[in-house]
Amino acid sequence: MTDSNNQMPDNRMTGAEIVLKALKENGVEHLFGYPGGAVLPIYDEIFQQDEIQHILVRHEQGAGHAAEGYARSTGKVGVMLVTSGPGATNAVTPLQDALMDSVPLVCLTGQVPTTLIGSDAFQECDTVGITRPCTKHNWLVKDVNELAGIIHEAFRIAQTGRPGPVVVDIPKDIQFATGTYTPKPEIAANISYQPKTQGDLKAIQAAIDLMATARRPILYTGGGVINSGPEASRLLRELVELTGFPITSTLMGLGAYPASGANWLGMLGMHGSYEANMAMHDCDVMVCIGARFDDRITGRLNAFSPNSRKVHVDIDPSSINKNVHVDIPILGDVGSVLEDMVRLWRALPKKQVKAQTEEWWQEITRWRARKSFSYKNSNDVIMPQYALQRLHELTKDRNTYITTEVGQHQMWAAQFIDFEEPNRWMTSGGLGTMGYGFPAAIGVQVAHPDALVIDVAGDASIQMCIQEMSTAIQYNLPVKIFILNNQYMGMVRQWQQLLHGNRLSNSYTEAMPDFVKLAEAYGAVGMYCDDPKELDGKIEEMIAVKKPVIFDCRVANLANCFPMIPSGKAHNEMLLPDEASDEAVANAIDAKGRQLV
């Protein structure tokens, strides 16, 4: 498969070489993957170079989530490499996860040779067909001369506009074939994809004018602020400082505004704070920045913030007016629009006076006084909330990154761990993928080798991708898994209590592994704690270990996650912890709400 000349021109090379060269040109330093028959030529090239480090995972799903964690903690594109057939199908969950949470991800898949496509060959599947609905775009490469251009375009599409996952499916004969390498073009050739980043100034001015008249304003921000880059977070802080508006955020947006900030109301939504949800319900002007009015946020749509005028800043036109009608849509990149907003607010002829929002702040103070995240602590058992409070206290002054799995522990982590900076919090929001947190933590640790990376996990979720412990050991990634072990799928159990007469169908984890021995079996460190008095010492011990740790933290089995907006209810119908008697919990959701999720 080489040219007859001994000396190949610089830009002539095999498809596999093109892949590596294109990855390097796009700034890739780490690659998460798993080899197989249809990607062997690319693996052979990986072997013969050392600019790009390949991290060998133990399951392709782990490669995807690790690449997601890498991307979310750095702002760079995450890259994964898998083989054809099962390699590609195992990548589907992280692809959909990245699509829903807008994570830039490039997934390279091997494919059977072009001559065998359609013949039901060994390890063949219709990768572009399967991944079409779970990617932003995908390609099947049929000509080696197009390979470099497609990879460059893949990186452009993954990270521009609303970021998302892309798949490049490369048949094995294309990897072997010799073709021409084309460098990354200065200006993209594809004219049908040109995302708009500058917001319409007239719309921004209208938004600023509306904000200046607000008596009960609120800023509702989301993952878009973080995706836009650190400058967007800085500008958001400046806007809050200038306007004095209260601010809440979705699960995905935590850290864009510091939790220690005076105007912070905490997270909103189903398990968000009372003050954030009440303020959303009663506001007169809502400014949504980089969030998408998800159903976990809005509660009952026809009772959602009934008396407000709404501004929505989003880079994705399909997010605007999708679930909630907005009065002033602004299409553009959050960072760019925030810059205009800050400038136009400064230029307002008549400054808004503090007195205008004073009553509103007094009301917010009353809501805050309800202390909606409060819980009854115990001297005998570790309350899950207490465990996370202690974990936060003992790690907050370090260079810490937190990932989570999905369930009660995820919501408690969002409630009790405060984030001061963006890109420090990695969680599966849209898709709600159990098994996300541990491989994501591995990706974060690869990007930040000296940081303290903790996966807050549940005893059920952690078992979904536990095999990646082997990866953590192989690459000396001292990730800490902090399991809030209540022996239940806690969130499932909580919903069964709320909705199904407390019939706990299949939500109890029987045959639980011994997590300490499990850690030791992999060569990691296992720890156990069931005594609140020993917790601090054990957490400090965990932090000091320079190896991966599984921390089996035994917590109260039947604790529920409150506050909560039950299904079919509005923001001002929250169930608060001090009101959540057994009877209230049993009757919280009526027959109609029971049919919902």
């Binding site: 049908s192 026809n302 399909s318 999708k322 109609k592």
Partner: protein
């Protein structure tokens, strides 16, 4: 129909849609590349939108552009969402709601035409009647033996519906319709 019964797949309680569903014709200019049609129709099935009619063909060979015409049904909000979702597809260049455009131009509807081939088998009086009616509808005979005709008819969908209905008792064997091709009146392009 799914689209307006459960908008956007929200898992929460959603008020029943009160706005009225209407039929709109969309013109979509796309790169003529493998899989582009699958992306468009996958969007419709995946998000529960309707397709009442679909036509697609390459229209600009040099530029590798194809034009897809879709007739869909939904409330104004859903139709706006369909357009935004279509525009998000990477190889989609432009999406024009021809029905909305026609209204902006002060017209009732865009020009919408369909071609149908209709096979009719029969002898004697039925055969003569079929031919008379074909003439009245300006349908052309494109193939014939002593026992059958294939008739080609062009027009609005309602005209074709009617033609098919009158041919039924006269020995109608099969019908093939192209779906709607559409364009706005006036000198401006899409």
């Amino acid at each position: 129909m799914n689209a307006h019964q459960q908008p956007t797949g929200s898992a929460y309680f959603i008020a029943p849609e009160t706005a009225k569903a209407e039929s709109h014709t969309l013109s979509i200019l796309v790169n003529n590349e493998p899989g582009v049609l699958a992306r468009v129709i996958g969007l419709f099935s995946g998000r529960g939108y309707n397709i009442e009619s679909l036509t697609v063909s390459e229209t600009e060979h040099e530029a590798h552009l194809s034009r897809i015409t879709i007739v869909t049904r939904g409330t104004p909000t859903v139709l706006e969402q369909i357009k935004a979702q279509l525009e998000r597809i990477v190889p989609v260049h432009r999406v024009v709601d021809l029905t909305v455009r026609a209204r902006e131009l002060g017209q009732e509807r865009p020009i919408e035409r369909e071609v149908a081939l209709v096979k009719v088998v029969g002898r004697g009086e039925h055969r003569a009647e079929a031919l008379r009616l074909a003439d009245a509808f300006h349908a052309k005979v494109v193939d014939a033996t002593v026992e059958h005709f294939i008739l080609e008819i062009t027009g609005k969908s309602s005209k074709i519906d009617q033609f098919v209905a009158v041919m039924k008792p006269l020995g109608l064997v099969e019908v093939c319709r192209t779906g709607i091709a559409a364009m706005n009146r006036g000198q401006q392009g899409m």
